[in-house]
């Protein structure tokens, strides 16, 4: 790479679905502004680049690195740490990096269970019961493949993170706003956000952006969306019994899902300062259940068929407990 006066940008997807990269590209013509403002040194989804090029850089030479995807293999952990060393600012990009996201739900299972599910389904043709292994002796030599960690981790559980952009994926408009702010800060034409700030999101929760009419909450039942014949387009979804995670989910997405009568599932993560998203949501839902006898309370709560999924769909790996017990406790693994 020829040296350039432009600040260097790295965009890395760890264990990710690629959606965050798509969301970045979805800033449309602004992508040209990004290319003009930065010298992109790594973006595997979009352009060529080698890890050795990154290793060759001086520490802190990359101005900003955006890391999406979670820390699932020892390769991703290694690269996160490598990029951290080489970067001035490390940005946790998207829900996977920030809190584990959907892949984080794999923390409810042990590594063995995950591998078995992937490699021994009824439709898998794997008569010898092969599993991925860390070393592979090819004709050309021994290959070392990334080891599958028993636990999925978030980016900040592995490296020191400067900023976070939440969302699954972050809304493209918010991405551009965040990148623009970063460009201005690097130019000196705008303030540098304090370390630890969340960019591209609001200071409140989804309800703040939701146009539905709200009243006091007295929930007599929880229902699944399939069970509702008609959803009132004006009224708060939670008040209609649909477990909407909006009250606990960070604002910034524009409340797109509730606007389409889909209850918020929580992809923008926790509100400012919250250390366990699921706890906040559990507390809120339980507090407004309209029942006082244990049997009646349980009957209402039965309406949430999968509490772990409801409360930790995106945030399990970043929660206080981080995982289910099977992930770390097993019979002789």
């Amino acid at each position: 790479m020829s040296p350039s006066a432009k600040p260097k940008l790295a965009i890395f997807g760890a264990a990710s679905c690629g959606g965050c990269d798509v969301a970045i590209v979805n800033i449309h013509e602004h992508i040209v502004d990004v290319a003009n403002a930065f010298d992109i040194v790594l973006w595997p989804t979009v352009m060529d680049g080698k890890y050795s090029d990154i290793e060759a850089l001086a520490d802190g030479e990359i101005a900003v690195t955006l890391v999406s995807g979670s820390m699932r293999t020892d390769e991703t952990i290694h690269l996160a740490r490598l990029l951290r060393r080489k970067s001035q600012f490390m940005v946790s990009f998207g829900s996977c990096a920030g809190e584990g996201c959907i892949p984080g739900l794999a923390n409810l299972s042990s590594r063995q269970e995950i591998l078995d599910t992937a490699f021994s389904t009824p439709s898998t043709d794997n008569p010898e019961g092969l599993r991925p292994s860390w070393e592979f002796g090819a004709a050309e030599g021994v290959l070392h493949l990334p080891e599958f960690e028993p636990l999925l981790r978030t980016l900040d559980q592995v490296v020191d993170v400067d900023y976070t952009i939440p969302g699954c994926p972050p809304e493209s408009g918010q991405i551009w706003a965040a990148l623009e702010a970063v460009v201005k800060a690097l130019n000196g034409t705008g303030p540098l956000p304090p370390k630890g700030s969340v960019l591209g999101a609001g200071e409140s929760t989804v309800c703040d952006e939701c146009g539905r009419k709200r009243d006091v909450k007295k929930i007599g039942r929880f229902v699944r969306i399939q069970q509702v014949a008609e959803i009132d387009p004006e009224l708060c979804l939670l008040e209609q019994g649909l477990p909407c995670n909006g009250p606990a989910t960070r604002s910034g997405c524009g409340a797109l899902c509730p606007a389409a009568s889909a209850p918020c599932i929580g992809c923008y993560g926790a509100a400012p300062g919250v250390i366990d998203y699921g706890a906040r949501l559990m507390s809120a839902f339980a507090s407004v259940v309209d029942a006082t006898e244990p049997a009646e309370i349980d009957r209402v709560l039965d309406g949430i068929a999968d509490p772990v999924g409801q409360f930790y769909r995106f945030s399990l790996a970043g929660s206080l407990l981080r995982s289910g017990r099977s992930a770390w406790q097993s019979d002789g693994e």
């Binding site: 020892d74 946790s92 990096a97 920030g98 809190e99 590594r111 591998l115 010898e128 019961g129 599993r131 292994s133 860390w134 592979f136 002796g137 021994v142 080891e147 599958f148 960690e149 028993p150 636990l151 978030t154 900040d156 976070t164 939440p166 969340v198 409140s204 929760t205 989804v206 309800c207 703040d208 709200r214 006091v216 909450k217 909006g246 009250p247 606990a248 960070r250 604002s251 993560g269 926790a270 509100a271 400012p272 300062g273 919250v274 250390i275 366990d276 998203y277 906040r280 949501l281 507390s283 809120a284 507090s287 407004v288 945030s315 970043g318 929660s319 995982s323 770390w328 002789g332 693994e333």
Partner: protein, 710 residues
């Protein structure tokens, strides 16, 4: 952390403006109360070493931290060592939190930067293993240290005290309280549910041990209360709603319609005379006498204004009669009168709503309600009372025959696991009084069936001796049955009390003409609901809970609400009067000071973080949380907030914080409590497994790894 960044709401920033946290730790021996089980020297030594990184600068142990020299250790260290946090490990915060906080303040440090953790009530007094108790003391202390690091300086909140007082209940306790406050020159609202004040005492004949006529000693008080310029009497009224907090309560009183204009009524009583509708008086006469549909409960009623019993009034039933209106010379009858709601503002409330009686029908084997000549204590009072339905003649249910033999049974529904476990305090004296009155009125033979004789107060035991000397017969035994199934000679036409005479050691069947059941006292059926409305709690028995059973019997856990009389448990008239006066004295003390300091434990909403989801809106029983439509956020009225913290826990956005018990403080305390294991060494922790333990480069074998293909 899940990478969501810090904010003032739930983040862990230390107190702004404080540089280094410097903590002083003080472990109290409390003589041998703590030191006898917990190795306090070791705990202090450990704190100085193991908690150094947490900011502990000095750790001392001392015989009695609450003593003057003990407190001086704290104040000296604050001044000399520049301490800005204090943790004392000693007795319960309910005892000495104030002591140490005051000492801290004396040394110039904000008192809320001092924490007291209990290693006595919660450790040395309840455990025996020295090693385990010492380990737990370390954990408790570490919890306190971690917590205090997150304490913020707080200022007590000062509130004004409205000099008006609300007294709920116009029995002897309520009247006493009202008169004391009114005599001191301050306004009182005395609210009574019945048409007249006086309570149960107005129904009694004579009171023990002096045998004073109840009405004679009560009615002068009633009249004083009814005419006192500082007392606003609201009878036939109920408190329906109370808002606010100490010094600033707003109460709504529903004045039920009497259908009589109280301002015009002269109390002449002609209306009741002329009223054609007779009704059994279940309340005042205990069902033994009659009243009219328009009535005053008794002759000395205060106020004298009658009420119309709507359900039994011919006019309200059929639209005819109106005899009262016809004959009323003051033209005071108002059939169209409506219930009236009045809102009052008071600074303090005294609840003195008394008791009701145990329903004797619940003990079927005593035959009350089935056998005509089994009476309850209240019925007996009405018989004995010269103004009662029999003009003071103690007679059988036929209204004519005097009994020759009477049995009085103590402890009916009291000291009984099947009904009420407690002792009703007054029934022994009451039963002795009945024995005396029966003898006085009829000369009959009287048997008292008792379990124990509880005659504890002044002149009580002398009264017992007197009744013994009068010839009353005492049988120590709880009767098994009262029956009319006579089968032995001498039993026909009698009711038989079947009892084991435990002193004689044999079963007895004692035929009597009349049985009086000394029924126990119970909380009123509506007491709990009213207590809730006033903001205080009742025990599982239903009696109102006092702040401290020994040292604070008239205060409650709720500032500004006091209790007096039987509402908190059975007691005799002298005790009720004393409590009424005591409650009044407490209230007067507050009024006199004009202002009061409240604990600054309050919740507040951070509007920037509030999304207006309104989940908190139903969390507050004090209605301190409101929704501001225009701003789209919820808001908490700090004055009304009682500091329970429920809304803080409920907010899904973490947008509500609470002083004194913040998230940071509690989470830190949890960390501290889990610093040591049960043996006093650091808690052994497991670690999350890793595929590639970067610590030592040694790879974990994978159980299902295929052999490396060469």
């Amino acid at each position: 952390m899940n990478g969501n960044g810090h904010s003032p709401v739930e983040g862990a920033a230390p107190v702004p403006g404080e540089g280094e946290i410097r903590i002083g730790v003080y472990v109290c021996h409390c003589g041998s109360n703590i030191a006898g089980t917990v190795d306090v020297v070791e705990v202090a030594r450990w704190a100085a070493e193991a908690l150094k990184d947490q900011g502990v600068v000095v750790a001392r142990e001392y015989k009695f931290m609450c003593s003057s020299p003990g407190q001086e250790l704290i104040t000296d260290d604050i001044r000399n060592l520049g301490l800005n946090r204090i943790v004392v490990a000693a007795c319960s915060p309910h005892l000495h939190e104030n002591t140490f906080r005051t000492a801290t303040a004396r040394a110039g440090l904000n008192p809320y930067l001092c924490e007291l953790v209990s290693v006595r009530e919660q450790d040395s007094w309840v455990h025996t293993d020295r090693a385990a108790a010492t380990a737990k003391a370390k954990a408790i202390l570490a919890g306190g240290v971690e917590r205090v690091r997150r304490n913020a300086p707080l200022d007590a909140i000062t509130v004004d005290i409205n000099p008006a007082t609300l007294v709920v209940g116009g029995g002897i306790a309520g009247i006493q309280a009202a008169l004391e406050i009114a005599d001191a020159g301050f306004p009182v609202y005395l609210v009574e549910k019945d048409p007249s004040i006086g309570g149960h005492m107005a129904q009694f004949d004579k009171t023990f041990p002096t045998l004073d006529c109840a009405a004679c000693i009560l009615t002068p008080r009633m009249v004083s209360a009814g005419t006192h310029p500082n007392i606003t009497l609201m009878t036939w009224s109920e408190v329906t709603h109370v808002d606010g907090f100490v010094g600033n309560f707003t109460a709504t009183i529903r004045k039920k319609a009497r259908y009589v204009d109280a301002d015009l009524c002269t109390g002449c009583g002609v209306c009741a005379e002329k009223c054609p509708k007779k009704v059994i008086d279940e309340v005042y006469e205990a069902g033994l006498g009659y009243r009219k549909a328009i009535y005053t409960p008794f002759d000395q009623a205060v106020p004298r204004t009658p009420v119309i019993d709507r359900e039994n009034c011919t006019y309200f039933e059929k639209g005819t009669c109106k005899a009262c209106e016809k004959f009323c010379e003051a033209d005071a009858i108002r059939f169209d009168q409506q219930d009236e709601e009045v809102t009052i503002k008071v600074g303090n409330i005294i609840m003195a709503t008394g008791y009701e009686l145990f329903d004797a029908r619940r003990i079927a084997q005593y035959g009350y309600g089935r056998l005509p000549n089994v009476f309850t204590s209240l019925e007996f009072e009405r018989l004995s009372n010269s103004a009662g339905p029999t003009n003071g003649r103690i007679v059988l249910r036929d209204g004519v025959t005097e009994p020759k033999t009477v049995g009085v049974i103590h402890c009916v529904g009291s000291r009984d696991r099947n009904f009420n476990n407690y002792c009703s305090a007054i029934c022994c004296m009451q039963s002795l009084k009945f024995a005396h009155l029966v003898k006085e009125h009829t000369g009959a033979t009287v048997y008292n069936f008792y379990i124990d004789m509880r005659t504890t107060a002044k002149a009580y035991d002398e009264f017992y001796q007197r009744v013994m000397e009068e010839g009353t017969l005492f049988v120590r035994g709880k009767p098994a049955e009262v029956t009319e199934a006579g089968r032995l000679p001498g039993e026909e036409g009698k009711i038989i009390v079947q009892v084991e005479d435990t002193l004689a050691g044999r079963q007895r069947r004692i035929p009597v003409d009349m049985v009086v059941l000394s029924v126990g006292l119970q909380p009123r059926a509506d007491a709990k609901e009213l207590a809730t409305r006033l903001g205080i709690s009742c025990s599982s028995d239903g009696w109102a809970i006092e702040k401290h059973p020994k040292l604070d019997p008239v205060a409650t856990m709720t500032e500004g609400v006091f209790i007096a009389g039987c509402v908190s448990g059975p007691k005799d008239i002298p005790s009720s009067v004393a409590q009424g006066a005591a409650a009044a004295a407490r209230v007067l003390g507050r009024i006199q000071q004009k202002q009061m300091n409240l604990e600054p434990i309050k919740a507040s909403v951070h509007p920037d973080n509030c999304s207006g989801c309104r989940i908190c809106n139903t969390m507050c029983p004090y209605n301190a949380i409101s929704f501001l439509e225009a701003e789209g956020v919820s808001s908490i009225n700090a004055a009304m907030c009682q500091g329970c913290g429920t809304c803080v826990a409920a907010c899904p956005a973490g947008a509500i914080s609470g002083t004194g018990f913040s998230n940071e403080q509690v989470l830190a305390q949890i960390e501290g409590l889990l610093m040591v294991g049960s043996d006093g060494t650091p808690l052994k922790r497991a670690v999350f497994p890793e595929a590639h333990p970067h610590g030592n480069g040694h790879r974990q074998p994978d159980a299902v790894e295929e052999a490396v293909q060469a």
